[in-house]
């Protein structure tokens, strides 16, 4: 088994839509994949983000906003435990996603 992080990237304009119920969609998704989901959460919007930039010499600068500006913003994540990438892709295809996409990142194995 291997762990994968599913990063949910969404065009934030969908949050304004009243015809979708994200909470219900994600509850249903969690129920469908309860056996493989290790964790996950939704995130507050990009207007609440804070970035700490470091230059590698101990200097840090705190700024308002996302690390990288883009149309789609990470709006949540799931950590799953499945046999392989094909299984991870199958779960990712089932994540409630409105406009955007799911980035699948294998979690590093530590011995």
């Amino acid at each position: 088994m291997a762990e994968y992080l599913l990063l949910i990237n969404t065009d934030e304009s969908v949050y304004a839509q009243t015809d979708i119920d994200m909470t219900a969609d994600h509850d249903a998704f969690r129920a469908r994949h309860a056996d493989v989901i290790l964790g996950g959460a939704g995130l507050y919007g990009s207007d609440t983000a804070t970035t700490v930039r470091t230059d590698g010499t101990g200097n840090a600068v705190v700024t308002d906003g996302l690390f990288a500006e883009s149309k789609e913003v990470m709006g949540g994540y799931y950590l799953i435990d499945v046999p392989d990438l094909d299984a991870a892709i199958a779960v990712a295809k089932d994540v409630p996603a409105y406009r955007g996409g799911i980035e699948i990142r294998p979690v590093m194995v530590r011995n």
């Binding site: 994968y4 046999p83 392989d84 990438l85 094909d86 991870a88 892709i89 699948i104 294998p106």
Partner: protein, 437 residues
């Protein structure tokens, strides 16, 4: 072949033959032992090197694939024993553990690799399919899929793959290494995909094989019109897919297209290696066996299925193959097939070919009008065939000066010397003279 000494030339030929026929089989079986593509590759290479060393004295074995598999597996076990476990930063390939446990490699003992027992190796046909699907996984970049398939399934060296795709060897080596790393780190399974995904995944494999074929059919650069090394690998890959997936219609369509195109290979170039246009080809030299096999496969592929890019291309090839002379070509049917192709696979190159077909089905003027309309297509601006096709229509309309100018443009745009020579001869026939010959 029998036990006993063989000449170096016999051995070299046998090893080359085994390399072409058995590489995927040997590698796929060895991956079971290593659980890692890199180690398996090294072990298989070593087995082929050992064959070159030992076969001259001991004789070429009756079953070269089995001999090589046994030698490669033994070498793989050596590598695994010697390897420091902690050096392994990447996980093993996913999906081989269960099967590997149920079919352990044969115990070691004899100094020389004996012919392995066939029972063990007969299950491995399915492993080649695993290897193909792993190399063509959609999580890999398309160019990496093509490179990996040629390296791992066909056994081309990195140098050969680099040459085929006109990139430097370090670039190609990096591309292949990165792809292998991703397979291990991302957990791309060494497995045949689930039933629900198989059609989509087979389509991905077909795209890779088709690209290998088309790249070989008209080499984009160089001094020979086609690259037999690539077209032969594509034929072998398609035949292997057909063998492993006998019920898949898309695979049948791919092989139909390749056979129906390959049927004309002998007449495509003259004794000097120069290109001969379809119009002037000696149709008696077309390969009837390929045509018959291609037509039968095409019938299988289209039976009740919606047209696909490959089956329509195959059908166009079939119209040419079945036409007794150039003059009797059913251009209306070809033009209609290009209409269908445009619907399933819109592309400026398809529009170009449709224009040529209409130029023959209707008139040179209507063909030329359509071609001129395509001149603004950004993707065709540097495409030599557009100017060559225009030149052909202009010749038929008696507008020789314009035809010569169009040939000159086509020559300047082509990167293949044979193609340029051919265009020069056509320009000569159109009445142009040039100091450059």
């Amino acid at each position: 072949m029998s036990a006993g000494a063989n000449t170096a030339a016999e051995v070299a030929a046998a090893v080359a033959d085994a390399h072409r026929r058995e590489w995927a089989f040997v590698l796929a079986a060895t991956v079971r032992v290593t659980g890692d593509l890199d180690d398996a590759e090294e072990a298989v290479q070593d087995a082929y090197a050992r064959a070159l060393e030992t076969w001259p004295a001991r004789g070429i074995p009756a079953n070269t694939g089995a001999w090589l598999t046994t030698a490669a597996k033994r070498r793989a076990l050596d590598l695994l024993r010697r390897a420091d476990v902690s050096r392994r930063a990447l996980p093993k390939l996913v999906g081989i553990e269960g099967a590997a446990a149920s079919a352990p490699p044969s115990p070691l003992g004899a100094r020389d690799a004996p012919d392995a027992d066939d029972a063990e190796n007969s299950v491995v046909a399915d492993d080649r399919l695993r290897l193909i699907f792993t190399c063509c996984h959609p999580a890999l970049a398309f160019e990496a899929r093509v490179a990996l398939t040629l390296r791992m399934v066909c056994g081309l060296t990195t140098t050969e793959v680099a040459r085929a795709f006109l990139v430097s060897e370090p670039t190609m080596a990096a591309r292949i290494t990165r792809a292998k790393r991703k397979i291990a780190a991302a957990g791309i399974p060494y497995a045949v995909p689930a039933e629900a995904d198989i059609r989509e995944r087979v389509a991905g494999v077909i795209d890779v094989v088709h690209l290998v074929y088309t790249t070989g059919h008209t080499a984009p650069e160089g001094t020979s019109l086609s690259r037999r090394d690539l077209t032969e690998r594509a034929i072998e890959l398609s035949e292997l897919l057909r063998l492993l997936l006998p019920k898949d219609r898309d695979v049948a369509g791919l092989l139909a297209l390749i056979y129906l195109t390959e049927a004309r290979r002998a007449s495509r170039t003259d004794a000097d290696g120069d290109e001969v246009m379809l119009e002037h080809q000696d149709r008696s030299r077309w390969d009837r066996a390929y045509i018959d096999k291609g037509l039968a496969l095409l019938a299988t592929a289209v039976d009740g299925a919606a047209p696909s890019r490959l089956t329509v291309l195959a059908a166009i090839g079939a119209v040419h193959d079945c036409s007794p002379t150039w003059e009797q070509t059913d251009w209306r049917r070809i033009a209609l097939l290009y209409d269908t192709l445009l619907a399933v696979w819109p592309s400026p190159v398809v529009e170009l070919n449709r224009a040529i077909a209409i130029g023959f089905a209707e008139s040179a003027q209507s063909g030329l009008d359509l071609l001129d309309g395509l001149a603004v297509e950004p993707s065709l601006v540097r495409y030599p065939y557009l100017q060559a096709a225009r030149a052909g229509m202009l010749v038929r309309l008696g507008r020789r000066d314009e035809a010569v100018a169009a040939y000159d443009e086509a020559i300047a745009l082509s990167g293949n010397k044979r193609e340029q020579d051919h265009l020069r001869r056509q320009r000569g026939a159109a009445g142009g003279f040039s100091a450059f010959g």
